[in-house]
Symmetry: C2
Subunit: 246 residues, 2 copies
């Protein structure tokens, strides 16, 4: 059904920087003709998912009900939330469970501490896989060829002076992740931000998600992350995995 596919494509077009888009804006962003975009936006407005101010359109909160349909029923986010909350309390840092969606990591559950951080992330947030601990764990769980292909498809930018963007180097890192069964991100996404992640394997051993702990670099050294945080993180990931049917 092309209309459904196009409508969803239109919704996603709003994920960019601008919040108010004209029909022509969406047309450019999606590659759909202006007439198609117009019909989509009119339909979305009729259904209450979007609203218009003269020539510009914007999404409405009702859009959240679509994601809620997933969050409220999918086994992974439901099982993950209490585990993360408990882990976050114990460690005193923010924790996340994410899954891979083509080159990006999608946060499906999160427990954050109250400390204000410059990156404001929550459930539904999307980050490119190549430069996050979560993403590298998830990429490492794929067959080498698939991981390489996923990396090659993505546009890789250096967010900080530590960010690794070169393909061979990234593949070597994935090998390391496979060997140690964890990934450590040291300020590659943002200066002052460190994260460590491990895979979440279900009862038959398939990696279905990844779990991380992220913290300000000033509060936790690389060493502390590996020696103190990693064991607790592994235990939590294992506990979650045991609850997940194949």
């Amino acid at each position: 059904m092309t209309s459904l596919a196009r409508g969803l494509h239109v919704i996603r077009a709003f994920a960019g920087v601008d919040r108010r888009l004209t029909i022509a804006d969406v047309s450019r962003a999606t590659g759909l003709t202006r007439a198609v975009v117009r019909r989509c936006l009119y339909t979305l407005r009729e259904l209450g998912y979007a609203a218009s101010d003269g020539r510009t359109f914007r999404l409405q909160p009702r859009i959240l009900s679509l994601g809620y349909a997933y969050l409220a029923t999918a086994p992974l986010p439901i099982a993950a939330q209490p585990v993360l909350t408990e882990l976050s309390e114990r460690i005193g840092e923010a924790t996340t469970v994410g899954v891979l969606d083509e080159g990006t990591v999608v946060y499906v559950a999160r427990a954050s501490t109250q400390r204000i951080m410059s990156v404001t992330l929550g459930v539904g947030s999307r980050l490119q896989a190549y430069c996050t601990a979560l993403g590298r764990v998830l990429l490492a769980s794929l067959p080498s060829a698939a991981a390489a292909a996923a990396l090659a498809r993505e546009e890789r930018v250096a967010h900080t002076r530590f960010t690794v963007t070169a393909l061979p180097q990234l593949l070597a890192i994935l090998e390391e992740v496979r060997a140690h069964d964890y990934a450590l991100n040291d300020q590659e996404l943002e200066i002052g931000l460190r994260a460590i992640a491990v895979p979440v394997r279900n009862v038959v051993g398939a990696t279905v998600a990844a779990m991380n702990v992220s913290a300000q670099a000033s509060r936790l050294s690389r060493r502390e992350l590996i020696e103190t945080v990693l064991p607790a993180l592994r235990a939590a990931a294992e506990r979650l995995g045991a609850e997940l049917a194949p």
Copy 2:
């Protein structure tokens, strides 16, 4: 565009209790023909928004990207998050900003403390308006007739022995909310849970959202909520409102 509307309807059909639905299940839940549902689900699967296990279908995390398109760009959640985080740190309790979507309240931003609560709620969560402090503030901001109509349309169940479900009583409560400019929910949603909410008014004075503080009844009395929490809540709501264009 009927296909788009039907597809979104299908997605929302998953919001119920069961997570895995057959074509016939969705057909019953939506009132759409099985053939239509089949085409919708096949399209969603093709696009990666759903997956199938033989006869049953389930949503995939990619669905979250639709809600993220709103969260990442809409002014309200963006402006609300830091205000809530700050308020939550000061009060030491969970805080929320929500908006009205036909008889239900949709959470668009939230800052929670680490304490585990029986109700696990996050951004995107939906609760019926009649039995929450947020909902009553939002209903009170509507013209009386519209509020009464919205209340009458909803099916009202008593979640606890304190829940008010009678229409005349609810309308009287809304009057009270209008008079005092805040709503207090004392264990009507769940035993042991109290919440207080105030409207968030934008720069031209229109109520565009509501903000609440919710806490375990054992930690905060009604009196403390009104005398200690309410002033801080009002200040935060005002600060947020000042950032919101008409």
